[in-house]
Amino acid sequence: MSRYARISALIALSGFCVLSGARAAPPAGAPSELKIGVVAFLSGPASGPFGIPARNAAELWIDKINREGGIGGVKVVPVFTDEAGPADKVVTEFRRLALDEKVSAVMGYISSANCLAVPPVADELKVLTILSDCGTDRVFEEGKQHPYVFRTHAHTVIDGVGAARYVLAMKPDVKTIAGINQDYAWGRDSWEVFSRTMRKLKPDVEVVDALWPKIFAGEYSAEISKLLVEKPDVVFTSFWGGDLVTFSGQAKARGLLEETTVVVNNTGSDIKDLAPGMLIGSRGPHSIVSAEMAKNPLRKEFISLYKQKYGLAPNEYIAHGSYHYVQALQGLRAAYEKAIKAAGKWPTSEQVAAAFEQIEFESPSGHIALAIGGGHQAIEPAGYAVIKFDSALGVNNFTQIRVFPAKCVNPPEGMKSLDWIDKGFPGAQC
């Protein structure tokens, strides 16, 4: 080899060593591993539609992050735990994760009640906490600020506002609406947002009925009969999981879907079981996305990884909980990287929390920005569509997709969601 070639080779080799070294070597003060508590419903009725898919998605994404060198060069180790149980159990588990397992961060929580119970404890113990699937808008709209708590997905206001806007887009002459929702906070909040938005956007709309079956009732013949008698133009429901599939099945069997239009504000893995003709949302840009979003490389990577590890039938869509948990991990990674860059060494929890505020990052659900809630709450667009049965493929898919931009369906910074609706959506960009 000529002298010149040898020197170039040497330079190239050392350059390569430096670069890979820079990727592999974690900053000063880094722990040997980054333990993260992952909380989800592993038992009970919420485990099927949300908990287990979310946990699985977290696991596969953490594997991917580790393949790419981990967070800041440190391997991520998840500690999975079950969210099931009353508040005292959930809080005890949180404390155990923080003080016994000594995790650097906790992510998870699907139930809104837990998302309200955990933040004060997170603040007390100064543990970085990323709420990953719950819907209540109260976390950052009521009570004091939570410096260590963040939510990397949109709250449920996008579902109700999105549903209302979609209904008005599809049925501009709607005159009567009714609601059938599970009698608990999620059902109440969902209906409140939807009905208020409808009445604001079309003041002459009349609410003919609001039905409140018990959660997990399983038997809706009386409610369906009443709806068949009343024949509202649109029926709104926030049912999920088994209840949603049951209601869809019973409604279809009795022809409710022929007499009225049913809109559901949250679907995901249950799309394959729902009756065609239903208007559905998916809690953000997850199952129902714009054509552009469908080409997003991270999204395609996530879906292919998920398919590889857990299998995905051609008619199956991934639960929104799964996307949300991946968003949480992406947010966590982005925050850590930003904090490491700022500190020059391994950051403290405070530094990561400071970096997390107002952060923006990419995810399989697109570009996520923590734009409201003092920089702690993310906003996302809301996608809605009509279920269509594709007889050629024998599966359900969508038609008439509308994606409402984030600034259209989220309140602006500093304003409470219900106030924003009542004031006529100031600042909304649709």
């Binding site: 009725p45 099927g48 009698d183 039905l211 399983g218 013949s221 009386a222 009443k226 079981d273």
Partner: protein, 298 residues
């Protein structure tokens, strides 16, 4: 008038659902004086197995008419296998102990079965609606009704009638009545009481599983489906009187009609109705409608 018809029909369908779901529980209590807290899990097992059989069968594309038989078979299998297992290996050992201990035993079995169901069938909802949709619908009172719940009502009636017949008209029924009234005297009469207990518990298990299998086509099965059913069954049989099949029927009708009426007039009360009725009935008639007051032994 039309409203009355609609409320009545809905009340009837819900009542038959309730009866199918709670008949097993009251029967077991009637004979063994044990409130089987694993009842909800037996229900779930019957439902899951029935649904699985139907889904597998439906995939083969054969005639849907046979799916009803599959549901029956699933219930019989669960009842006949799990029933004797629980009774002979666990319950039998605690007959001599306090009622509380027996309750706790069935409670611990229910905890175990809950996870067994989850381990075997996973957490993905299962909806085997072919038997439900196959029968189509009928228009009554200007409202569409599915035929299937009416089939269930007929089956509920048949089961109630069958149980009554067996208990009052057959030799087996006489033996059962004897054991219920006085265990010791029955023993002295030469009746194989332990075997009667096993039989009765198994029958109760079959009824529970049957309730699950027959109602499975109507809704999506998820983990935890048994727990809800348990509390509902409690309430119904408490109203009707523990141990009384007729009471379970009456309790089911009462709650079914009340809930149906509430949905129309007071939808906010939906959640409460069953517990309010239970509390009211128990206050004025603690033994329920047809329950028997136990004579205290001095």
């Amino acid at each position: 008038m039309r409203l009355l018809l609609v409320v009545g029909l809905d009340g009837l369908t819900y009542a038959s659902w309730l009866f199918l779901v709670s008949a097993g529980l009251t029967f077991t209590y009637g004979v063994l004086r044990v409130l089987n807290l694993a009842h909800g899990n037996l229900y779930a097992l019957g439902a899951y197995l029935g649904a699985t059989l139907v889904l597998h069968y439906a995939a083969t594309g054969s005639t849907p008419a046979l799916t009803y038989a599959l549901l029956l078979i699933a219930a019989l299998v669960i009842g006949a296998v799990v029933g004797p297992l629980i009774e002979r290996f666990f319950l039998r050992r605690v007959y001599s102990r306090d009622e509380e201990v027996q309750l706790l035993l069935t409670f611990s079995i229910s905890l175990i079965l809950e996870d067994v169901v989850k381990l075997v069938w996973g957490v993905t909802p299962i909806f085997a609606d072919l038997p439900y949709t196959y029968l189509g619908r009928v228009r009554l009172g200007g409202v569409n009704y599915a035929w299937y719940p009416f089939l269930l009502a007929a089956i509920a009636l048949a089961i109630g009638g069958l149980l009554w017949l067996v208990v009052t008209r057959t030799r087996l029924g006489k033996i059962l009545t004897s054991v219920i009234s006085d265990r010791e005297v029955s023993l002295t009469l030469g009746i194989n009481v332990p075997r009667v207990y096993t039989l009765a518990f198994t029958a109760g298990a079959v009824l529970a599983a049957l309730g699950g299998a027959l109602t499975a086509p109507m809704f999506s099965l998820v983990p935890g489906v048994g727990a809800d059913v348990l509390v509902t069954s409690f309430a119904v049989i408490a109203i009707g009187g523990l141990g009384s099949i007729g009471g379970a029927a009456l309790g089911s009708l009462l709650v079914g009609m009340a809930r149906s009426f509430a949905v129309y007039k007071f939808p906010e009360l939906d959640l409460f109705v069953i517990y309010l009725i239970m509390a009211l009935v128990l206050l004025f008639r603690p033994q329920g409608f047809f329950g028997e007051i136990e004579v205290r032994r001095i």
